[in-house]
């Protein structure tokens, strides 16, 4: 009896309140998105809003069960849970049914179930468990390898189901690793990789190569090399590039500017290395290594983009980056989505008065594009409110994580925050044309039992852990 009272007392009700508000708002927006005059009752179980209510009821049931389970159970069973999930992911590849081109669903009678959704909390548990080991050192090769294994196994399996969106979610764990001591350099590198990626496609490999050289110069200065020496290095580089350019012109070899720059960097790299070796500047070698790595990366980006990606994937990326625009083809969904949101204005058209969503101009409006309904019917006020509620929840989770005494709970909490963040960023970003169209649900909003339950499980396990924060590590 006493324990139950303390559990209720120790639960973070602010988080639960935010959760409840979001779930409720999600439900009425699903009602608005699929509203039709024949089925006006919001409780009509033949319609999506009626079904969603059933899913919500089930979610509450799941939440209560999670809260009643002893918190030790979660760390104890972290690995077995992941293993079960991995087996399910394997099984779905064989026995699953295809929906929208992704073989990621089990069909049991009329109920469909998507294991990828549940792999998230399992992976999060396993990561928390592994990273919270006593004496864990993140920069050890073995640590990195196992961490990678935990993250990549489900990601790759999900990718094999052709569900790119859900696979990409695992990339967000880099933030959790960062919190647990991964060098900020890696985070920066990831950021640079993203920037280079975009620049390579929008501009050209050559532009990015120049960018790389400039960044290299700044890095060299930062590690204490004199400006004069950097200038000499650059003069040499420019000189050899110019010479090569002339030779190229003269002989008609028809090499691209990018190739010429790469050759001149390699040519100059040898005397540079000799110089570094003599002066024993260890970090400078790292810079050179990075430059070469970046060049290789840039090259492979354009290679992969042109040779590996399929035309429709290229199109989506091009559309997103504004390289080409085809509002009737690849860009149709996003364009319609922007129209719906944009037409909402400051305070929206009012509940059930959205025309773009009601008349099906927006595709997938109750699932991936549910934010359109919010934007159209509730306007800027409503969409801002939803975003701020989500942000509040995530920041609350960070706050809660930081007050944990157990590393396991903290890491798990960060994982929940990061996963939620990734979903919101990609989903909302997609509807307003800031992220590519990869179908992942908006937490608590999008129609569907699997995703609602998965987020509920994620969140309530953490709430359970948090309720016990004082008991652990006693």
């Amino acid at each position: 009896m006493n324990r139950r009272v303390s559990l209720i007392k120790n639960l973070d009700w602010i988080t639960i309140l935010l959760y409840a508000i979001l779930v409720f708002l999600g439900w009425i927006n699903i009602y608005a998105a699929v509203y039709n005059e024949d089925h006006q009752s919001i409780l009509d179980a033949t319609q999506r809003y009626g079904k969603q209510l059933i899913w919500i009821g089930a979610a509450i049931f799941i939440a209560i069960i999670i809260l009643t389970i002893e918190s030790k159970f979660y760390s104890a069973f972290a690995y077995p849970t992941l293993i079960v999930m991995i087996l399910l992911l394997l099984a779905v590849l064989v026995f699953g049914v295809k929906v929208n081109g992704a073989r990621s669903w089990f069909q049991l009678g009329s109920i469909r179930f998507q294991p990828a959704e549940f792999a998230k909390f399992a992976t999060n548990l396993a990561i928390a468990r592994y990273l919270s080991q006593y004496n864990f050192k993140i920069h050890k090769i073995k640590s990195l390898f196992i961490t990678g294994l935990i993250l990549f196994t489900p990601a790759v399996l999900i990718l094999m189901q052709n569900d790119t969106g859900s696979a990409l979610v695992y990339s967000v764990f880099i933030l959790v690793l960062y919190r647990e001591g991964l060098s900020g350099f890696v985070l920066l590198l990831a950021l640079l990789a993203a920037i280079f990626f975009v620049f390579t496609l929008i501009y050209s490999s050559f532009t990015v190569a120049i960018l790389i050289v400039i960044i290299a110069a700044i890095s060299l200065k930062m590690i204490g090399i004199q400006i004069k020496q950097i200038a000499i290095a650059f003069a040499l580089l420019a000189g050899s590039f110019g010479t090569l350019w002339l030779i190229n012109k003269g002989t008609g070899l028809q090499l691209g500017n990018f190739s010429l720059l790469v050759i001149s960097i390699l040519l100059n790299g040898i005397p540079f290395l000799v110089y570094i070796y003599r002066n024993k500047i260890k970090n400078a070698a790292l810079v050179l290594l990075l430059v070469i790595g970046s060049l290789l990366y840039t090259f492979s980006v354009s290679y992969i983009f042109e040779q590996v990606l399929e035309p429709h994937q290229q199109q989506r990326i091009n559309e997103l980056l504004g390289i080409q625009s085809d509002p009737y083809g690849a860009g149709y969904n996003v364009n319609q989505s922007k129209i719906a949101i944009g037409s909402g204005g400051f305070n929206g058209k009012g509940f059930l008065n959205g025309t773009q969503t009601k008349f099906n101009f927006v595709p997938e409006q109750s699932t991936d594009f549910i934010f359109c309904t919010v934007g159209e019917e509730w306007g800027f006020l409503g969409s801002a409110l939803v975003l701020i509620l989500h942000l509040s929840l995530i920041l609350r989770l960070i706050f809660l994580s930081e007050r944990q005494r157990s590393s396991f709970s903290r890491i798990y909490g960060y994982g929940v925050a990061a996963i939620l963040f990734f979903h919101i960023a990609v989903n909302v970003g997609m509807t307003i044309g800031l992220a590519p169209v990869i179908g992942i649900p908006l937490p608590f909003f999008s129609y569907g039992g699997s995703s609602l339950w998965s987020f509920t499980i994620l969140l309530f396990i953490f709430l359970r852990l948090d309720a016990n924060r004082l008991e652990l590590l006693r």
């Binding site: 933030l175 960062y178 919190r179 647990e180 001591g181 900020g184 509002p327 009737y328 083809g329 149709y332 319609q336 922007k338 129209i339 719906a340 949101i341 944009g342 037409s343 909402g344 204005g345 400051f346 025309t355 773009q356 008349f359 099906n360 101009f361 934007g375 159209e376 306007g379 800027f380 969409s383 801002a384 975003l387 701020i388 989500h390 942000l391 995530i394 920041l395 960070i398 994580s401 930081e402 005494r405 590393s407 903290r410 960060y414 925050a417 990061a418 963040f421 919101i424 960023a425 909302v428 970003g429 307003i432 044309g433 800031l434």
Partner: protein, 615 residues
């Protein structure tokens, strides 16, 4: 306990930063940028214009002249078009793929959000098939509108035609939008606002498949179309048809008026064209062909926008002015020795007995008689100068409607030309010019130019003994039948009624004077026709003109027949006049005139003329 605790700020910062970017983006999408609201509107609303049925046009006897036939325009809203089966589409409407792409491009240029015409005037068979399959082609819909049909293929110039509005029309009158039709000439143009009615609008909600989901805002924005009003014209289409037949293969014009009302019974310009040529898809091609026909100029309405010297028929006016001014009396006799001689000046005349009194001068169309009378009118001492005398003369001439627009209800009427006194002063380079300088005006030559409509109106004045009603083409409008009140006003000439009788007697003699009467061929058994021939000097072959009215004592029709290159008035213009009058008053041509009718129908002045040129 953990060195990296501060990193929560970095991580939280990243989260907050991304959300901030989203908020800025949303602010831009939802508040700053209006483009999306417009898109949304065009996305989900379909505004369907409800075209008003254009008013019908009848002749004076209730015979239908113009009616409407349904036509179907295939419309496109480019932003709603999705990829579709082009082959199927092309087969349905019978155009090729390049054409489809081209038309879509054109429509996009017009507007991506608003509808524009994709293909004009589909056939009803094509429409029937298309309607079934239209759901496969989002962004396309069919708009029904009407085309004009002409059961009689006559009176093209008078009826006018419809054409698509251009940018100028739209700018001038906001009622019109791209693709609307407007009366471009004739009745269709002057009575545009009566005939067109008021178009309406229906606004529907449509879903992504362009299916109508109901009335927009419960039909608050809807407006019902108001039908155009019907018009009954003054034309007698049977007579018009007959007149057009008589004028086939001839260049010229006929205008016939009911002098008692000013109603235009017949108005034609020959050669003409079939009004059906200006309907439908072939219109622009036909228009180009007709407009480029330089030798015949079929689009040119000679009855109102051609001006000719009137020739001898103008002697009637000079006779009336002479009588009014007291220069001559019906008994004034003037000698003619094969012409008019003044000093070294000679104006020839054909041989006839001499001297002649007034009515004989009309019968024989004596040049000398009118040269002298005209000079005396101008040189009468009481005016002080020839110039003042001329101005007085001109006042009389103007009162017949010459030199001004009559103010009829048809567009593009010309004024003709009756020069001012100052014009002559300028031309003769002196204020003290002499009446002899302009004596050719005495016989309707020289600086005079008059439209056939004005000539017909002149005959009306004479038939009415001194007044006219402004000639007009519309007898009644809509249900209450009201027409412009200006057509009910009697316009008095400056000549007193009593002076008309001797002139009319002369016109009687033209027809019934026996040997030497130039209008004999217009005589009709049992009907007293009064006429006057004219032969108008022309650089090529002379023009033939004849004016007449009948019956003499109760005029029911007054007309002019002007045949270009018709040589003498008596050759074509007079017989054609007689036939038209007889047809109008009796309904048929009497047996003894059938040969004349046949000759007129067969006369070909267009092709024979060319033959002569070939020689």
């Amino acid at each position: 306990m953990n060195n990296y605790s501060n990193r929560r700020f970095t991580i939280g910062g990243i989260f907050a930063f991304v959300i901030l970017i989203f908020l800025i983006r949303l602010f831009n999408l939802q508040i700053v940028n209006d483009e999306y609201k417009l898109s949304a509107e065009s996305n989900s609303q379909r505004r369907v214009t409800q075209y008003a049925a254009r008013g019908l046009i009848y002749d004076r006897n209730g015979d239908l002249l113009v009616y409407n036939q349904a036509a179907y325009d295939l419309m496109i809203i480019p932003r709603q078009v999705k990829t579709f089966d082009t082959l199927d589409f092309c087969n349905l409407i019978g155009i090729n793929k390049e054409d489809v792409i081209h038309r879509i491009k054109k429509a996009k240029k017009h507007s991506r959000y608003r509808s524009s015409i994709f293909i004009k005037q589909l056939s009803s068979e094509c429409y029937a098939v298309l309607q079934e399959k239209l759901y496969k082609f989002p962004g396309f819909f069919v708009q029904t509108r009407t085309l004009r049909k002409y059961p009689h293929h006559n009176a093209a110039h008078t009826l006018g035609y419809l054409g698509e509005v251009n940018d100028r029309h739209i700018e001038k009158d906001k009622y019109y939008t791209q693709g609307d039709y407007i009366g471009k000439s004739g009745l269709e143009s002057t009575y545009e606002e009566v005939l067109r009615g008021v178009k309406g609008l229906k606004v529907y909600w449509v879903d992504v498949y362009n299916r109508i989901k109901g009335s927009f805002h419960n039909g608050d924005l809807d407006k019902n179309a108001i039908e155009g009003q019907d018009i009954t014209t003054t034309l007698d289409i049977k007579l018009q048809e007959y007149a057009e037949e008589l004028m086939q293969n001839k260049k010229g014009s006929i205008v016939a008026i009911d002098p008692k009302t000013g109603e235009i019974l017949v108005k034609l310009s020959s050669p003409s064209y079939d009004p059906e040529m200006f309907v439908g898809r072939a219109m622009s091609k036909n228009y180009r062909e007709l407009a480029n026909n330089d030798s015949l100029r079929p689009l040119f309405d000679r009855s109102m926008i051609a001006t000719y010297p009137p020739g001898s028929i103008f002697k009637l006016i000079n006779a009336l002015i002479g009588l009014q001014e007291g220069i001559i009396t019906p008994n004034t006799r003037i000698k003619c020795h094969d012409g008019y001689h003044a000093g070294r000046f000679t104006m020839g005349c054909h041989h006839h007995k001499s001297p002649l009194d007034l009515k004989e001068s009309i019968q024989h169309s004596c040049n000398a008689y009118y040269a002298q009378t005209f000079r005396e009118i101008l040189d009468a001492p009481r005016f002080g100068s020839t110039s003042n005398g001329y101005t007085n003369w001109k006042k009389h001439v103007n009162s017949f409607g010459f030199g001004t627009k009559l103010g009829t209800d048809l567009p593009s009427e010309l004024t003709g030309f009756i020069p001012q006194a100052t014009y002559h002063a300028k031309r003769n380079k002196t204020k003290n010019w002499k009446s002899l300088n302009i004596v050719s005006m005495a016989i309707g030559q020289g600086e005079l130019s008059i439209t056939p409509l004005q000539m017909a109106n002149m005959v009306s004045c004479i038939a009415n003994r001194g007044y006219y009603y402004t000639p007009h083409i519309v007898k009644s409008i809509g249900s209450d039948g009201k027409i412009d009140s200006k057509f009910l006003i009697k316009n008095q000439t400056t000549i007193e009624p009593k002076y008309f009788e001797p002139v009319i007697e002369g016109m009687d003699l033209v027809v019934h004077g026996g040997e030497g009467s130039t209008g004999r061929s217009s005589a009709i058994k049992d009907i007293r026709v009064c006429g006057k021939t004219g032969t108008v000097q022309n650089p090529g072959i002379d023009h033939s003109v004849y004016v007449a009215f009948a019956p003499k004592d109760d005029p029911k029709i007054a007309l002019v027949v002007y045949v270009e290159n018709g040589v003498w008035g008596s050759r074509y213009a007079a017989p054609i006049s007689g036939l038209i009058i007889e047809k109008y008053l009796k309904g048929e041509i009497s047996e003894n005139k059938k040969y004349l009718e046949k000759r007129m129908l067969e006369a070909d002045l267009i092709n024979t003329k060319e033959d002569k040129q070939d020689e």
